[in-house]
Amino acid sequence: MIDIAFTLNGTPCTVAAPPFAPLSDTLRERLGLTGTKEGCNAGDCGACTVLVDGAQACACLIPSAQAQGAEVQTVEATQGEVGAVLARLRAAFLAHGAAQCGICSPGMLMAATDLLLRNAAPDRAAVRDALGGVLCRCTGYAKVLDAVLDAAPQAAPAPEAGKAVGAGIARLDGVAKLDGTDRFGADEAPADALWLRVVRSPHASARFTLGDLEAARREWRLDAILTADDVPGLNAFGIMPALKDQPVLSDGLVRFRGEAVLGLVGTREAVMAVRDSALPITWHPLPALHGTAEASAAEAPQLHAHAPGNLLIEGKLNRGTPARDIANAEGRFTTAFVEHAYIEPEAGYAQPAPDGLGMEVFACTQAPYMDREETARVLGVAEELVRIRPSACGGGFGGKLDVSVQPLLAVAASKLNRPIRIVYSRAESMASTTKRHPASITARMSADAEGRFTSYEFDADFNTGAYASWGATVANRVPVHAGGPYRIPNLRNRARAIYTNDTPAGAFRGFGVPQAAIATESLVDDLAEQLGLDRWEIRRRNAIGRGDTTHSGQVLHASAGLPECLDALKPEWEAMLARVAAHNATSPRERLGAGIACMWYGCGNTSMSNPSRMKLTLSRDGTLTLFNGAVDIGQGSTTVMAQICADALGLPLQNFRFVLGDTSRTYDAGKTSASRQTFVSGRAAMETGLALRRRILALANAGEDAVLALEGTQLRVGAARVIDLATLDADLEAEGRYDPPTTALDENGQGTPYATYGFAAQIALVSVDTALGVTRVKRIVAAQDVGRAVNPTLVLGQIHGGIAQGLGLALMEEFIPGRTENLHDYLIPTAGDVPEIAVHLIEDPEPEGPYGAKGVGEPALVPTAPAILSAIRHATGVTMRQVPVLPHRLWEQMR
């Protein structure tokens, strides 16, 4: 420990800190400035960007000793030139929707400040260069660049009562994301919390025995070393209701590299000082099954007693009888593990309730109610005794639907009876949490002479890794969607989820549908080529629309805007084709290509009840509070629910206060997944607003169209009536609930699995350096039927972000356990990789949805990768059936 004296945000400061500790750690843990985030501690993500002597730097790479005598500025800066630039940037970020989850925002703001201090009027390329070192997984960077370039940001005016839906207002939770005060999982903990560090298996498959842990505990001055024996309840968790197959701490057999083995509890210094190799663990490595081919081989060892052949589940859809036709296409496709790469690694704390019975967990999550259920089971207590308080969530994309830190923290906190804290390292997050399922797909598709699709067959093995997680959801969702948003009378679809010794695969934006779309859209291009049809034309001819029947036999009565999406893209498609032809005529090496793809996506859980419930109170002191259990993971549900509820009630947004996603205070609004929050919880928010409105109107004996106004405790109802809330006997309270109508699927996958579907089409322009096999995406135009854009700014943000993730899936992302467990070997798109994006919002209202809205979160990602592959093929003549299309893979295919 040394004393380090420096200037921090304009003020002299001295701090005692270990000289080799990263400056980011000293800022956060010793100076309490948690606005500076840590996403990797390796320089890769830029979340920790600060200014040191006026130049941007990664605080995680700077030894605290080097701060001596320096000027350090962080996102918390308010004074001087830096403060002024930051203030302007914050306003611009807010107005443009440049912060979604907000975990990257402090780094983005500091990098942008560095630029603007040197260059007051930069161009887009200069902004990109300046922000190139900060990764964002949510926004696709477009709005961030817009915000930095906007020298005079104008906030959208607050919409009046009844006009909130459809307004692109700034997110309601945005300010805290931009001034560094939002509390993510690692940003808050009781002062007396001990730390938990998890010892994880370095082997993909092994047995282990434990020696004298008590001696080790004493030697390393730990408070406890937790094993499977310390789990008070059931040492198991998992998404499927009847299959809890993953242990909190392994009981002697590990099934993947990264599986939790021991929990070290003590002071931070103590748990961090332990060398894993010095612990009394004796490993007996076993042969590991990597990939579905190995795991489904006849002689493969069985990984779970309940899963003969290592088959977790098989989903099917059969309709008609597929047969060959005039045009026939077939292919084998493979996709890789994809990492969510949210910039916030899992973190949080647990603390026993003062009554000695309950447990409170504060952590980042997408599914607080499921966390509660899982945590209670592991503790062996009633669910009501567990309170989940979601922290701000620094990105999820499906990866924070499963529990991670929650049961571990709860077990430790209950054993030691004191608060316990944990922050996953980036490598730990990547090695131990779920991924997108790798898929091996064989698919066939046929069309008649007019290019009408007649048959489709799909057979896919999804690698679900060592534990089930969301494998069953993928296997059920994929057969329903695999054929794509087209009229096809004959289908035979099968999806299997197979256990392996790889990292568990779970939920990731699209639940297997993006993988299936890569196969299907490629076959559609094959058919177009065989028939001499334009790729847009063949899609338009087959596009499913209103009145058509889906592959599961569901008639689409409304909100089926794929034809409109395609029509919206037509002019740009023509222009793109012309541009490609003109360019390629004179450029043999740098080839352009245009590509196209479509998608559909059922909103909500597949054939399952998935209700949301909300509450709204108008108290006698005049406060209006929406109790909203939907977790905002950056997509903006907090804002969207408020807009919907406000219009349903008929009061302006400014009147609202919010209680958000806290299992002890809000009702269950389900998971933030399956593109269901706007549609399902949004409808519940609408019902809630309407219910309170009915009560008010009844109380005032006013007509249905009475205009409301709230001032203090005076509630004006229509022109004539005023209710003084203070005089009421009780607060006004109303609830709303919604559960989308679905039916179970029969043994052939027939039924109504979803109440509504999102539709989209995208076209992509790429350039390929044919000598090097390098692909650059130059432009993407998206058209998406969103039912109704409740908040166009937020909808665009979702589409941009989905496209960026789809681009990563297509071109660079490949998680290999043990090899790409960091953000320099695992590549996600940077500000320089995402192209210009144009979006057409198609609004074909969904009668079930709130004000016609339906889900947008996942759909945007689905068509991007297949559109890029289609464009690569157009540019090079090569059909890529394996993603990611790394330069050497494309080069090999071109040879």
Binding site: A55, V199, D833
Partner: protein, 280 residues
């Protein structure tokens, strides 16, 4: 506990270096990620640290009788912003492609060289610049050519008691530097392969001196003497046509997560042609 030294005098630094096995730390941009990677899998131990960032006089690029001296604390950003002749254009181009601005602002060229990674973007251009390394210890000073300094995959000729004090770049009349990097994304990317070169031409536009190096295609980046020899006397505008597969006989690219060996070999040729395509 890791001891941490941050001396302000070179003598003290050399004494510490002579007295114990310490890790030298300049910008820390290689040291910290490596430490994070080890700690993530349960090895939090670290050598004692000798932080040289407070040593005076090592952040400058100065002109000398023979050429230029680049102090060991000169960062990529300093290089980018320095007023230097076209000889250094390749080094500046490499600097702009290292990491993001945050890394460029802290990381040193010397640190990049001492790490001696096959993918170190600074190394091919140092080879092409014919740079030499000024090394100092309590035992005295010595100068070693960069090519001799780099002894293998992440190994160097630096002794445990030595520090690199500076790099020296000799003048080359009319010399023009260039650099080409290939990676799988735009920013923050580890090179799949990269080439660097320095070329001088006579008044007739014929190549009088060619020094070409290739990185990430062998354990240590290397010069390509056969190609260099073939370029001498060739008209600058014709240089790209000279590059032939047999010029790459000495390289030994590997298959890894970023690319296959066969691809690297072919890409190297393309990059070399692109490098030589560039303006004179």
């Amino acid at each position: 506990m890791t001891a941490y030294h941050r001396p302000t005098r070179l003598e003290d630094a050399l004494a510490i270096r002579a007295g114990a096995d310490v890790a030298v730390l300049a910008g820390g941009t290689d040291i910290f990620p490596a430490r994070t990677a080890r700690a993530a899998w349960g090895d939090p131990t670290h050598k004692d640290v000798l932080d040289i960032s407070a040593l005076p006089g090592l952040r400058e690029i100065s002109e000398t009788d023979e050429g230029w001296r680049i102090g060991c604390l000169v960062t990529w950003s300093t290089l980018i912003g320095a007023a230097l002749p076209p000889l250094f254009d390749g080094l500046k181009a490499a600097a702009r492609e290292v990491g993001g601005r945050q890394v460029q602002n802290r990381a040193t060229l010397v640190g990049n060289m001492v790490t001696a990674s096959p993918a170190g973007d600074g190394i091919p251009i140092l080879l092409a610049l014919d740079a030499s390394v000024e090394i100092i210890s309590r035992r005295g000073a010595r100068r070693v050519a960069v090519a001799e300094f780099l002894t293998g995959y992440r190994t160097t000729a630096l002794a445990a008691d030595e520090l690199v004090l500076a790099l020296h770049v000799p003048r080359l009349h009319g010399g023009q530097g260039g650099f080409r990097k290939l990676g799988a994304r735009h920013y923050l990317v580890i090179s799949i392969a990269m080439t660097a070169g320095v070329i001088a031409t006579d008044s007739a536009g014929r190549i009088t001196s060619a020094r070409i190096a290739l990185g990430a295609c062998s354990a240590v980046a290397q010069r390509l003497p056969a190609l260099e020899a073939a370029l001498i006397g060739v008209a600058r505008a014709q240089a790209t046509q000279v590059v032939q597969p047999h010029h790459l006989q000495s390289i030994s690219p590997i298959d890894d997560i970023r690319a296959s060996a066969a691809y690297r070999r072919d890409a190297a040729l393309v990059l070399l042609r692109d490098l030589l395509e560039a303006r004179a």
